[in-house]
Point group: C2
């Protein structure tokens, strides 16, 4: 370090939650310099006592066994942060956060609803902020979306604007080459009736558009008087090949979800999230109308799985040394890749 | 504000340096909400005592007269920050910073060499950091380039990367429709001999590529073992129309400057800055090789004059409330547009 403001020691991580995301994060940390896994917690009795290298299919043991609670996972060592990859519901997460906070540990979580709970679940946000301050820790929710592509990155781009009239962000994904669970998640192959039924159950909803809208509005100091979140099906106009099956004309290729934020009835923020089989131009695109107008495109879009794990790891450095409280991405020094 | 962590009062600004950039910043602040000019300083006797509305050609007076020193410009009011738009040389700026710091005022400057002096002019950086801490203020250098497009923005994009092997940033500008001073600045219309002579004098050099390279490397925790900054002419292959004149084949259309940062002899950072008459595809492009690869493009590129003034204004909010010291863009909560 040229600036001497950061320790050269490894950042020590305790993992809580060893689902697919938690496993991938452990794998990633094992491949990096500057970070170190010191313990792992999961409540699944099937995982208890097993080496995390085995749980994460690393092909080798890492010498760390899965514990059922943080105290025994730490075994006297103090991590710099907990990576919490358990639930998507903020209400469920809050209890877990409260327990971890009791150990005085900073928390970075992939919980979508934690990315920007202010204005969406403000009471819970206040509660978590209070917990963080009481225990002198920082708490952050992050991920690729919400947490980066459709909120943080457009906010960053407004930094060179003298005026912003409106912001539109589109994340368009071609699901043709994605794994089957992803295709199912977006409703590919369903009939319109099945799609609508799944929609009612909330099973097709991408969590986070509303949080992203509120993050943008908050940072711009825009006072929203309304927000919407609309899900519609992407219907096949013709028979469409998807891997080894065919999605018939009239059935579902995928899902589109549009979030809108209004001020005085005017649409100021528009977020379009679409994932379907056979999308022609997959891309992440930001369009700012203002002074100057700015259009920014990432052709092909950013791979979501890789990106969410990476930003969760990269954020650990940015939350250390901050004043205590519930943080969001806009409150931190820039979250960047690093490698000693 | 939903989060109650920021005052609703206007941010009060003292301007020091009323050249073209300082004038445009005053104009921009006069058009915005949430910010307020409370005083202005310039050493030019021609400007002394005149209303800043007249100096900045606003077509109206703003009730603030140009002072020759900060104390009389403040007239008992305490600004939240000084916007310092005077010189490009950090050595010259340091004396001005020292004087302003004596009043306990945060400073945001457009001085290119201040954007990331660590590793480039480390002794001066240490001196300024000491001054800032002694007087309990934050000091920041920013702008569109250096300060955003070729350093901060690529750093932001690495936030979703598990690995970064190399970073290339290109800022390609078509000077065809720019004003004559800009065309002169890039050497358009010169003979090759004249170009080389101007190069020797340092008159064609864009200041900041080296600073940008060091900002990127520092944030990645990459230890550079070398950096280069190479200027070459863009020569007209055929007669090329530029406004009402013709640039003859064999003479100069503009300038290209390439900055490179090496680790163990490997080129890890490449910055290409080119401005010339008749560029076919002007754009700001970031290419990250890693996991995942990310390419991001802003077609047409970001207008530099607007953007530098805007980011200087927007940064004021981000430096308030920070621990004292010499800051760089990567140390701040995200710099974004805002409007009450």
């Amino acid at each position: 370090m040229q600036r001497g403001d950061e320790a050269l020691q490894n950042i020590k991580i305790l993992h809580i939650g060893l689902g697919p995301l938690g496993q991938k994060i452990i794998k990633y940390i094992s491949e990096r310099k500057g970070l170190e896994t010191i313990g792992a917690v999961d409540t699944d009795p099937e995982k208890a006592g097993k080496d995390i290298g085995e749980i994460c299919s690393l092909g080798k043991n890492l010498g760390i066994r899965v514990s059922s609670d943080p105290a025994s996972a730490m075994a006297g060592k103090k991590p710099d942060a907990v990576l919490l990859t358990t639930v998507s519901s903020l209400e469920k997460l809050a209890c877990q956060v409260e327990e971890i906070a009791g150990y005085g540990l900073n928390i970075v979580s992939t919980c979508e609803e934690l990315s920007f709970p202010w204005g969406v679940q403000t009471e819970l946000a206040l509660k978590l902020d209070g917990i963080a301050k009481k225990h002198n820790i920082a708490i952050l929710g992050t991920g690729v979306n919400p947490g980066f592509l459709m909120d943080y990155l457009p906010i960053v781009l407004t930094g060179v604007c003298q005026e912003v009239k409106s912001i539109k962000v589109s994340r368009i994904q071609d699901a043709s080459f994605r794994r089957i669970p992803f295709k199912k998640k977006i409703g590919a192959g369903l009939t319109l009736e099945e799609f609508n039924e799944k929609c009612k159950q909330g099973a097709l909803r991408h969590v986070g558009l509303t949080e992203s809208i509120h993050m943008i509005a908050d940072r711009m100091k825009w006072k929203l008087d309304g927000a919407e979140d609309i899900i519609t099906p992407v219907v096949a106009a013709e028979d469409t090949i998807s891997g080894e099956t065919v999605i018939q004309a009239g059935t579902i290729l995928g899902v589109q979800q549009i979030g809108k934020g209004y001020i005085n009835g005017e649409e100021k923020i528009t977020l379009v999230f679409r994932a379907s089989i056979g999308e022609k131009n997959p891309a992440d695109t930001i369009e700012i109308k203002g002074l100057p107008d700015i259009t920014s495109t990432i052709p092909g879009g950013v791979n979501g799985d890789v990106a969410t794990c990476a930003i969760t790891i990269n954020a650990v450095r940015s939350i250390t040394g901050l004043p205590a409280g519930l943080k969001t991405m806009v409150d931190l020094p820039v979250t960047a890749f690093f490698s000693e």
